[in-house]
């Protein structure tokens, strides 16, 4: 291919979203995707070595969705997350040390060890928390959007949920309420193809979760969830629509979790070939290729970011591991607020 032919071709294929992101913002997005990947690999390693307790749900392979959705958000915007929520938390700006300390059940964790992997939250940055109940976060996000509308903050709320939640009543009630009240909320379905072992094709009567948007009078958008630019573009459109008072959007990001559902998963419901095919669509590798191809970052810079995150995660694991256990005398602390402390 000649340079004469290739120049317009690169220009034509350059996703528009990069026109509104500085190179630093794009590289920061890449950094966050690496942080998610490394955090979860560290969590997995910690479990395999017998250093952690309880359960965890890994989102390895889904990083572009979490980060792409959060790119247009500020700390004033809220998210609700899922049991598979490490990625959302990091994408929304959480720090790795208190996250990992929470994963280990330590007092230095975001939830002081009371929540664990399934409840990590960071309210200061608008993360209202991961949720152990499938569909539990959707109505709460609608409430946060109602609150933003009433307080005229201009903020939006984003509800992350999986394909498994799209058959819960909470999904349907939340979409309907958000639409009749035209609330600034974005519903983001991370369709990773399986609700535990239940394939989306077996669980859901429509081809796309996004098809359900029509029943609630809102736009439904399907995007390649392993493509950062596609997700970010959809998120910009939906959040701008929400901020303009035009109401909610349902985004369905098609993606895949390459790890099992949780620790108990023996992968009996899918084939190795399927997993390998999706691994070939790894969102981080694709993002790095695109960054280099578009000249946003050099190969050296991209490699540097991965190495920096590697070190950052090592430090976070060490710091988190040094965090003390909660005091057993305080097992019932924070069930209620101290009297007279309502904000």
């Amino acid at each position: 291919m000649t340079s004469h032919a290739s120049t317009p071709r690169v220009s034509a294929s350059r996703p528009k979203v990069y026109d509104r992101l500085t190179p630093d913002a794009v590289l920061d997005a890449l950094r966050r995707m690496h942080r998610i990947r490394r955090f979860e690999e560290a969590a997995e390693e910690s479990y395999i070595r017998g250093l952690s307790y309880g359960t965890m749900h890994l989102s390895i392979g889904q990083e572009a969705t979490a980060v792409g959705v959060c790119v247009p958000l500020t700390d004033a915007d809220c998210i609700t997350s899922t049991h598979r929520g490490h990625g959302h938390c990091i994408a929304k700006g959480a720090e790795l040390t208190p996250m990992f300390a929470e994963f280990l059940g330590r007092e230095g964790g975001y939830c002081k060890g009371r929540g664990g992997s399934m409840h990590i939250a960071d309210p200061a940055r608008g993360n209202l928390g991961a949720n152990g109940i499938v569909g539990g976060g959707l109505p709460i996000a609608v409430g946060a959007a109602l609150s933003a509308k009433k307080r005229r903050t201009g903020a939006v709320a984003v509800a992350f949920f999986g394909d498994g939640a799209n058959n819960e009543g909470a999904f349907h009630e939340a979409l309907n309420l958000a639409s009749i009240w035209r609330l600034p909320v974005v519903f983001v379905c991370e369709n990773n193809q399986y609700a535990m072992s239940m394939a989306i094709s077996r669980s859901t009567a429509v081809a796309n979760v996004a098809d359900r948007a029509i029943a609630y009078g809102m736009p439904g958008v399907v995007v390649d969830g392993n493509n950062f630019a596609a997700v970010a573009e959809a998120s910009f459109a939906a959040t701008e629509r929400a901020r303009a008072g035009e109401g909610p959007t349902l985004i369905e990001a098609k993606t895949y979790r390459t790890r099992g559902h949780s620790r108990s998963d023996r992968n009996r419901y899918r084939t190795r070939e399927e997993i390998e095919a999706w691994k070939a669509l790894d969102p981080i590798a694709r993002f790095e290729t695109e960054i280099v191809a578009l000249g946003i970052g050099s190969p050296a810079r991209v490699a540097e970011i991965a190495a920096e995150v590697e070190k950052e995660m090592e430090d976070a694991v060490a710091a988190a591991s040094a965090s003390p256990w909660p005091s057993v005398a305080e097992v019932a602390r924070d069930v209620y607020s101290p009297a007279g402390t309502r904000v």
């Binding site: 975001y110 209202l128 409430g143 933003a148 602390r333």
Partner: protein, 330 residues
């Protein structure tokens, strides 16, 4: 100047109006609470006075609606959500029990959920099995919730205002038979504590601990018992979580006999907790008779009025049990 009287429903409406006028973060949600005025005419004309954004008609969508209230409470608002019947709250239990009650704890104290859920409760209006239940004990079993059941117009106004001003989720049970009951209600804003029982009548021979409409039946029974020379002390629990243990213990130390009366199904209900509070305390040593419980029958609430009446304790039942207890016939 004679004390001003309001109905229980009017007292609730007055509390809501004071809260709405006093803090713009307060808003109401619920089915048919707008122009309809609420299924029990509690919200009445509030939508005319405060507008549709403050008094929000909510679709029949309890899970979603309750969750929206939880999310709004998490992010700076003070929602008051009316369930049309407490029975319908089961559709929203996920948001009440898994979310509202637990979020503060799960998140290490980083958030508050200052939401109020109002729940019309109890039988006596022919509502049958799905519109008449008394499920207070279910919610009172959940750490993170506060559960109250005011029995007078004065208390429901003060406790509702306290609930709205409370940092944590509060469930207010309102017995449907009380909505039209009148009683003195102080003017203006005041708060009634969410953790204190009220001694409605003093007596030396036995303690009757009752909730909601049963507090009224216990008082009526106490009148009748007094004619027989039996002095019944009547404690209106008012709060189920937290429960006022000292009030129960001190009373039983004085009377040496305990009868717990509640409308919910007898087994594993409020009476079990009241009994255990005495059994586990120094009051146990003062007991001169076994503890008795009077609760609902082990069946759904029936429709037929003759059956509905016998399904929950009535005044005569309380008199009979109290008499046996006071006369050592247990």
């Amino acid at each position: 100047m004679g004390a001003r009287e309001l109905s229980y429903a009017e007292a609730i409406r007055e509390a809501l109006a004071i809260a709405l006028a006093g803090d713009e973060r307060v808003f109401l949600m619920g089915e048919d609470i707008g122009v309809y005025g609420g299924a029990f005419q509690v919200t009445g004309d509030l939508v005319d006075r405060f507008g549709e954004e403050r008094v929000m008609d909510t679709p029949i969508s309890e899970l979603g609606g309750a969750g929206v209230a939880v999310g709004a409470a998490l992010t700076g608002m003070l929602p008051v959500y009316e369930f049309q019947f407490s029975d319908f709250s089961m559709l929203a239990m996920e948001q009440i029990v898994n979310q509202a009650a637990k979020l503060r704890y799960m998140l290490g104290g980083a958030v508050q959920v200052p939401v109020v859920f109002r729940m019309p409760t109890g039988s006596g209006l022919g509502g049958a099995a799905q519109h008449s239940q008394s499920i207070e004990a279910w919610y009172a079993h959940v750490p993170g919730l506060k559960v109250v059941e005011p029995s007078t117009p004065e208390d429901v106004k003060g406790m509702l205002l306290a609930a709205i001003n409370d940092p944590d989720p509060v469930i207010v049970f309102e017995h449907k038979l009380l909505y039209k009951m009148k009683g003195p209600v102080p003017e203006g804003r005041y708060e009634t504590p969410l953790d204190k029982a009220a001694i409605r009548r003093e007596g030396r021979d036995l303690t009757i601990v009752a909730t909601g409409v049963m507090a009224h039946r216990a008082l009526e029974a106490a009148e009748s018992l007094a004619n027989e020379g039996i002095g019944a002390e009547v404690i209106d629990l008012r709060s189920l979580r937290p429960i006022d243990k000292p009030a129960i213990i001190e009373s039983v130390k004085k009377t040496a006999r305990l009868l717990a009366v509640y409308e919910g199904v007898k087994t594993l209900g409020i009476g079990a907790e009241v009994s255990a509070i005495v059994a586990e305390s120094e009051a146990f040593d003062y007991l001169e008779a076994p503890i008795l419980r009077l609760g609902g029958v082990e069946a759904p609430i029936p429709y037929s009025p003759v059956l509905e009446k016998v399904a929950v304790p009535q005044v005569d039942d309380i008199v009979a049990s109290a008499r046996r207890l006071a006369r050592g016939q247990v």
